[in-house]
C-alpha cells in the first residue's frame, strides 16, 4: 500500500502542489492498550477514514493539515505512510536474498517514494504559507528548496531530540560515515546515469540535495538474523543509489522510519521532529501524557463541569483535561508539598493557572459538599502511598460521596488493585456504582 490516494498525482511543471484534497495516509505509533482510543480520536478529531489498527500502530487517511494533526493526544508519534506490505519472508532463504528484498522496498517502486516526499513537502509548505511562485516546482531551484526545509528545521531545532531511536542510530552512524567515504567516487557516476533516465527527471526536480537518515526497528523473526544497523544500511545505500540523496545522521531534512516484524513491513516519514506524546505545554510530566489524556477523554467533561483529581501529583491529568476541555472548573489536590509545588509550576508554564486550582487535602477526607463534583479523574498511586484494605475503601467511599448523581469517576489502577476492587464489588451488597 503506498502513501498516495488514487486521485493524487505529482504536480506537473508550472502547477502549484496539490492541497491534498483527497488526503494522505498516515500511521501513528501508540502505546499498548491505547489503540482503540486513538482509533476513536482520529475519527473524531480528523474525520479520518480507512482506519485500522495492528499491534501498536493505527493507520488512517485524512486531509487535515499539520495543525490539526499535531492535536492528536493518544498517539506516540505520527508518520506519513510510505509503504505497508506483508512481512518479509525470511526463514530458509540466504541472507543475500533477504537483503535484496529489503532493497526492493526502495527500488521496487521509486515513484512511491517520490510521491511520499512530495506530499511531505506539501504538508510543510502549507504550514509555512509560502507564496505560490516559490511553491511551483519548475521555477524552484534546488537551492531554494533547501532553504524551505532548513527554515522549518530552525524552528524545531530549539527543542532537544528524543532518545527513542538514538541508540540504534549511534551504531549506524559509524557504519554510515565509513560507507559514505567509499561511495563518493561512485556517486559521480550515478549522477550521470540519473539524468539519462526519463522516469527520474521528476526525481531530480524534487530531490536534489535532500539529506536523510534511516531509523530502523526490527522485531520477530527478522531480528534473529539481521541487526537494525544492517537493515538500515541496505536501505540507506539503496536510497543514495536510487535518488542521489545524501545521508546526514546529525541533522537530516528527511527521516525515514522502517519497522519490520512478523506482521508487516512498514515504511514511513515522521511528520514532526518530536513525538506527539511530548507536549510543549507540560513542563514536567508525571503520568504519561497519552494515558492522562485518555483518562480525561473517558470522563465526558461537559461545559461547566466541576472536575476533581484528589491525588493530582504534578497535575498531568488535569493539564491534559483543561487543555482539551477548557470550559470546566478543575480542582487538584495532593498531600505532598513538593508535588503541589511541581504542579503549580506546570500550571504556570502551561498558562492554565486560571483554569486549575490546587489544594492541599487528603483523598480520604475531602473537604467538599456531598454531590458537588461532576467528574473525578485520577491515577491511584497504589503501592507507594495507599495500601489495599481500609485505605482504598475509604477513598472510594469519599469519592462516591462528593460525586453528583450521574457523575463519572475514571481511575487508573494497577492490576492488583483492579482485581481487589472486583472482589470487593461482588462481596459488598451496599456498593453503588454509577
Amino acid at each position: 500500500m503506498s502513501a498516495l490516494a488514487p486521485e493524487e498525482r505529482p504536480p506537473s511543471p508550472g502547477e502549484p502542489p496539490s492541497p491534498l484534497p483527497a488526503g494522505a495516509r498516515y500511521f501513528c505509533t501508540v502505546g499498548r492498550g491505547l489503540e482503540p482510543f486513538l482509533t476513536r480520536e482520529v475519527g473524531a478529531r480528523l474525520a479520518a477514514t480507512e482506519v485500522e489498527y495492528v499491534s501498536g500502530k493505527v493507520f488512517f487517511t485524512t486531509n487535515c493539515g499539520l495543525t490539526m494533526l499535531k492535536q492528536l493526544k493518544s498517539a506516540e508519534r505520527l508518520f506519513l505512510l510510505l509503504k505497508k506490505q506483508p512481512p518479509l519472508f525470511i526463514s530458509s532463504r540466504s541472507k543475500g536474498k533477504v537483503f535484496n528484498e529489503i532493497q526492493r522496498l526502495v527500488t521496487g517502486d521509486p515513484l512511491c517514494w517520490v510521491r511520499a516526499v512530495s506530499i511531505w513537502r506539501s504538508l510543510l509548505e502549507l504550514e509555512e504559507n509560502l507564496p505560490p511562485e516559490v511553491a511551483k516546482p519548475s521555477k524552484r531551484k534546488t537551492g531554494e528548496n533547501e532553504n524551505i526545509i532548513t527554515k522549518k528545521l530552525k524552528i524545531e531545532q530549539t527543542r532537544v531530540m528524543p532518545g527513542d531511536t538514538e541508540c540504534q542510530l549511534q551504531k549506524q552512524k559509524n557504519d554510515k560515515i565509513e560507507e559514505h567515504k567509499d561511495l563518493t567516487t561512485e556517486k559521480e557516476n550515478f549522477q550521470e546515469e540519473k539524468s539519462e533516465n526519463d522516469g527520474e527527471k521528476e526525481v531530480e526536480h524534487h530531490q536534489g540535495k535532500l539529506t536523510f537518515r534511516v531509523s530502523c526497528r526490527c522485531s520477530g523473526t527478522i531480528a534473529k538474523t539481521f541487526t537494525t544497523e544492517e537493515v538500515g544500511r541496505v536501505i540507506g545505500i539503496a536510497l543514495i543509489k536510487q535518488f542521489g540523496w545524501k545521508a546526514d545522521l546529525r541533522n537530516p531534512s528527511l527521516e525515514i522510519f522502517i519497522h519490520l516484524n512478523d506482521i508487516y513491513s512498514v515504511v514511513g516519514i515522521p511528520v514532526f521532529r518530536l513525538p506527539l506524546a511530548s507536549r510543549d505545554y507540560i513542563k514536567v510530566a508525571g503520568l504519561r501524557s497519552t494515558i492522562a489524556w485518555t483518562i480525561a477523554s473517558l470522563a465526558e467533561i461537559n461545559v461547566g463541569a466541576v472536575v476533581l483529581d484528589p491525588m493530582c501529583g504534578l497535575g498531568t491529568i488535569l493539564l491534559e483535561a483543561a487543555k482539551e476541555w477548557p470550559n470546566a472548573s478543575y480542582l487538584g489536590a495532593d498531600v505532598s508539598d513538593s508535588q503541589l509545588l511541581g504542579a503549580c509550576d506546570n500550571l504556570k508554564s502551561a498558562g492554565l493557572m486560571d483554569r486549575i486550582e490546587l489544594f492541599k487535602f487528603c483523598v480520604t477526607e475531602l473537604p467538599l459538599h456531598s454531590e458537588s463534583v461532576d467528574v473525578i479523574i485520577s491515577d491511584v498511586p497504589f503501592g507507594k502511598k495507599f495500601k489495599l484494605g481500609k485505605d482504598i475503601k475509604s477513598i472510594l467511599h469519599e469519592m462516591e460521596r462528593v460525586l453528583c448523581v450521574g457523575g463519572t469517576i475514571v481511575l487508573l489502577l494497577s492490576e492488583d488493585l483492579h482485581k481487589y476492587l472486583q472482589d470487593y464489588k461482588e462481596s459488598n451488597i451496599t456498593w453503588n456504582s454509577r
Binding site: G304, L340, K348, D354, E357, F359, F361, T364, P367, S372
Partner: protein
Amino acid sequence: MRAQAGMKLLTHNLLSSHVRGVGPRGFPLRIQATEIRVSPVDFNPDFVTRMIPKMEWTALVEAAESLGHLSELPRQLKEGYEKDEDFLRKVHHVLLEVEVVEGTLQCPESGRLFPISRGIPNMLLSDDEATS
C-alpha cells in the same frame, strides 16, 4: 514572573470543613484575606449559566461581600437570569476573577483555621480532627 494565582470564590463555594462532628455546619468557610488578586478571565456565558445552579447563592454573596467585591451582585437569584448578559458578567467576575492568594478559611462551627498560602488552601486534617 507572573503573580501567584489564588482560590476563586467559585471553588470556595464548594468547600466545607471536615472537622469531626461538624457535619453540614462546616459550611460556608469564613474568608479572611490578606492578599487578594483580581485578574481578567475570558467570559463564557454558557459556563456561568451552568455554574449558577451549583452554587449556594447566599454563601457566594456573603463571601464576595467579605472580600469587598460584591460588585452589585443581587442577594437573590431572579428568574430568567440565563438571558441576562449583564447579570451573567457580574456573576462571572465574582466567581472567577477574584482570587484569595494569602489568608485563612475558618470553619464556622469549630473555629479551626485553614491557611491559604501562595494561593493554595491547606485543608489537611490531623488524625484527631478527622471524621473517620
